[in-house]
């Protein structure tokens, strides 16, 4: 399904998103494993907080990185992250 701008995502249960100083990157930690999220992927997931909608995340990123059209990349990454089970849609 294509992502609707109103969808609100949160980090999935049993995952933890944090900044790793030693990796100089954001990471997702889960039982016995870790995904490194360098650059833009970390910037996107940082904004997945259970309150911001997809539309708000796109707008916020475009404010933070002016001059870029980020919508396509953001949607694509969120769909990937959702497919991998890192994030889940909050029930309205």
């Amino acid at each position: 399904m294509p992502l609707n701008d109103d969808v609100i995502f949160e980090i999935a249960h049993h995952y933890r998103f944090q900044w790793e100083p030693a990796q100089e990157a954001h990471v997702l930690l889960y039982p016995e494993g870790m995904v490194k999220l360098p650059g833009s992927s970390g910037e996107i997931l940082k904004r997945v907080n259970g309150t911001a909608s997809v539309g708000e995340i796109v707008a916020d990123l475009e404010r933070a990185f002016p001059g870029y059209d980020l919508r396509g990349d953001v949607i694509e990454f969120l769909e990937t992250a959702h497919g991998k089970g890192w994030i889940r849609a909050k029930q309205a």
């Binding site: 049993h14 933890r16 030693a22 990796q23 930690l29 039982p31 016995e32």
Partner: protein
């Protein structure tokens, strides 16, 4: 896990820190990988020692933390260590038999920020042959499973398979289903420590293995996605070695109950290496500088057939401990590899276990992991501390 940038000469970070906080254990498993000599080792680290280890490990870049043992619940200060781990930013995993877990403790673990629990499934008695029918076992696991779920952890069961229980995989899975397990690891024994000592008695046959995999697949087909099942085969039936620890000193660091730092669970028995103690050195020096952690790092130490092998970057020559145990030299290729001139030792081991199983050879003694056996098997003397 990713390599650190392009700095080829620099080793990776110890992303996985395993804290084997106690060698004490209420169980006596014949397949335990702990060192046979564990009862001769010195005093356990203090709470303060562990807090320092956790801090130093985290500073160096460790993000996954395992509390294991022995039985980690034997440490009354586990609550303190868990809370500190969360504060430091670890993702912490408790690896336990569940013996000694009650509501008061799990509530404190949750409040302190423990992220994950893995419950191993075996009997708390010595009656391994009928552990499946023991009501006591099931009651205990049911109690533990209820607590795990009540405190919002996924129910992860680990079952170590060996000759004496592998024929009951269907029953084991049924039991896991009754416990509403979400993940089940059917992990065949790895032959180190007590398991190595008992190998001729507990190594299953190829036929047993195949049957167990069949039963697992049938169960998967019936139960669908409710329960995720992983089946780990014993490497003695393979022809290529496992990429042990993703390479020596590559991402794993274990600290034993008495403070010895190791690049894998079993390395302590390797001769010629002095494994540093966290009582004498900090984790950064241990990881980067200590001779022991550099001994088999990279591939300069390799001999043939590994040295010129196209697969050396994939499996790192396999397991140093298995190479030592079976060939007498830790720098040899893991003899599981059929390119190794010593691969015959592996097939011999399989044959010897078959002989015992089929009654062609006398049954050797089955050693249960306990203090008495540990002391008598290691001459009862204290080893000099590392």
């Amino acid at each position: 896990m990713e390599k650190v940038g392009s700095e080829q000469s620099k080793p990776n970070l110890p992303l996985w820190l395993l804290a084997e906080v106690s060698y004490k254990c209420p169980l006596h498993c014949v397949y335990c990988y702990n060192p046979v000599e564990y009862a001769t080792y010195g005093q356990e680290l203090s709470t303060g020692d562990w807090l320092r280890v956790l801090r130093q490990g985290r500073e160096l870049g460790a993000s996954q933390l395992g509390f294991s043992g022995g039985e980690p619940l034997m440490r009354p200060d586990l609550e303190i260590l868990i809370a500190e781990a969360r504060k430091l930013g670890y993702y912490s995993n408790l690896i336990t038999s569940g013996v000694g877990l009650d509501e008061k403790r799990i509530a404190a673990f949750k409040a302190g920020g423990l992220d994950h629990i893995q419950v191993s499934f075996q009997d708390s008695t010595r009656e391994i042959n009928d552990f499946l029918s023991s009501a006591r076992t099931f009651d205990l696991k049911q109690k533990v499973a209820r607590l795990v779920k009540k405190y919002d952890y996924p129910m992860v069961l680990n079952v170590v398979l060996h000759r004496l229980n592998i024929d009951h995989v269907a029953q084991i899975l049924q039991m896991a289903e009754q416990l509403e397990a979400e993940y089940v690891e059917l992990a065949n024994t790895q032959y180190y420590g007590w398991a190595y000592l008992n190998r001729d008695r507990i190594l299953p046959s190829r036929e047993q293995l195949l049957r167990a995999e069949e039963m697992t697949n049938e169960f998967r087909a019936r139960a669908g996605n409710r329960m995720k099942i992983y089946f780990v085969v014993p490497d003695l039936y393979e022809t290529r070695p496992k990429p042990c620890m993703s390479g020596w000193g590559s991402l794993f660091l274990a600290v034993t109950a008495d403070g010895v730092a190791l690049p894998c669970h079993s390395a302590r028995m390797l001769p010629g290496l002095t494994f540093p103690s966290v009582r004498d050195h900090d984790i950064r020096w241990i990881w980067h500088e200590s001779p022991a952690f550099n001994a088999y790092r990279g591939d300069a130490w390799m001999k043939e057939p590994c040295r010129s092998c196209t697969e050396k970057a994939k499996d790192y020559g396999g397991c140093r401990c298995q190479a030592y145990l079976m060939t007498g030299d830790a720098a040899n290729a893991d003899p599981v590899c059929d390119k190794s001139p010593f691969h015959g030792f592996v097939t011999d081991a399989v044959e010897r276990a078959r002989g015992v199983r089929e009654g062609a050879a006398p049954e050797p003694v089955l050693y249960f992991r306990d203090d008495e056996n540990s002391l008598s098997l290691s001459g009862g003397t204290k080893q000099p501390s590392a």
